[in-house]
């Protein structure tokens, strides 16, 4: 007769443990960490560039991409410290990769760490990186039906940003549908519209991050 052994252990126990360690360290150092998630080309890097140009808080960026250091180079041009992680085919970041990237940062001089996850609306939503909040980034040209088609990200995000709103007058966009579905999935998420091109909404976003920074310092 086979013997049954109860295990009751999370499949991702190793990674969750690291995420917990990172969260504790960030809370000691009073650093806010935001995990930006959205499809390829949603405008994550452009949003970060616009944010970093206007922000007063001290930031660093961890860039996740399958290959190249292009996004980290773009961030570095704004004068902000950027660490590139190449996942070599991996479709999302995991906490042990973030842990390694954080070793390259001077945590004593920081208020915020932005993580730009690998462009992907699906997998990154599943992985805890030790962040304070996931930020869903969805752009006007992707269409307004994304929240319901990809509910996992939108229902777990602490904030939802609709980007490239300057394009609405060119290609149209059903705002009511988009925000209605987001509200249905996630009534507590902060909801903002931004354009990194013409700057609309960027100051509100920066003010919001600044408010979170203040709350983290307490």
């Amino acid at each position: 007769m086979p013997r049954r052994i109860s295990i009751r252990q999370s499949v991702m126990a190793a990674d969750e443990k690291i995420a917990g360690l990172l969260r504790r360290k960030l809370s000691e150092k009073k650093i806010l960490m935001l995990n930006l998630i959205g499809s390829p080309g949603a405008g994550k890097t452009a949003l970060l560039e616009a944010t970093l140009k206007g922000a007063r808080f001290r930031s660093a960026v961890i860039e996740g991409d399958i290959a190249t250091s292009r996004d980290a180079d773009r961030i570095a041009r704004t004068g902000t410290r950027a660490v590139q992680i190449n996942t070599r085919g991996g479709c999302h970041l995991e906490s042990h990769l973030v842990q390694k990237a954080m070793e390259e940062l001077d945590l004593d001089g920081l208020d915020v760490i932005f993580i730009e996850n690998v462009g992907n609306l699906v997998c990154p939503a599943e992985f805890d990186l030790g962040e304070d909040m996931k930020v869903a980034v969805s752009s006007v040209p992707e269409g307004p039906d994304k929240p319901l088609k990809y509910p996992h990200l939108f229902s777990r995000a602490g904030a939802v940003l609709l980007t490239k709103v300057d394009l609405v007058r060119h290609i149209g966009f059903d705002r009511g549908l988009f925000w209605g579905d987001v509200e249905g999935l996630n009534p507590l998420a902060r909801k903002l519209e931004v354009s990194s091109l013409d700057g609309s909404g960027i100051q509100e976003w920066i003010d919001l991050v600044e408010k979170w920074v203040g709350e983290k310092r307490k």
């Binding site: 295990i7 009751r8 999370s10 190793a14 996992h152």
Partner: protein, 112 residues
């Protein structure tokens, strides 16, 4: 989504426990998977049959217990199945997820 890497993590952690406990051949592995975890059972089964080759659970049966999304209202105690994000009874948004997020190795069966 990450069925293959999930299965590799499952096999690695069971192998570790197996070495520590000097278990015999493993004949059955039971997982609990929440509906919100974007995992497709068929792909999980296939990944397991491939990735378990050469391990102590080669040929073992993989049982997947799927758990539906269930939420509870912290304010009135009502609970409901499905993705409604506001309480279906009092309408408030102070809710918590009771199940549907699991990704757990529940148990194994080992030959004596």
């Amino acid at each position: 989504m990450h069925e293959f890497s999930l299965i590799e993590a499952v096999i690695d952690s069971i192998e570790e426990r197996s070495r520590e406990g000097s278990w015999g051949r493993i004949t059955k592995v039971t997982l609990k998977i929440g509906e919100m975890r974007q995992v497709i059972p068929e792909i999980l089964q296939f990944s397991f049959s491939v990735a378990s080759k050469g391990s102590s659970m080669e040929g073992a049966e993989l049982v997947i217990i799927e758990l539906a999304l269930e939420k509870r209202c912290r304010s009135c105690g009502n609970s409901w199945k499905g993705s409604a994000s506001r309480c279906t009874s009092c309408g408030c948004d102070d809710t918590e997820t009771v199940s549907g997020m699991e990704l757990e190795i529940e148990s194994v069966e080992v030959e004596e």
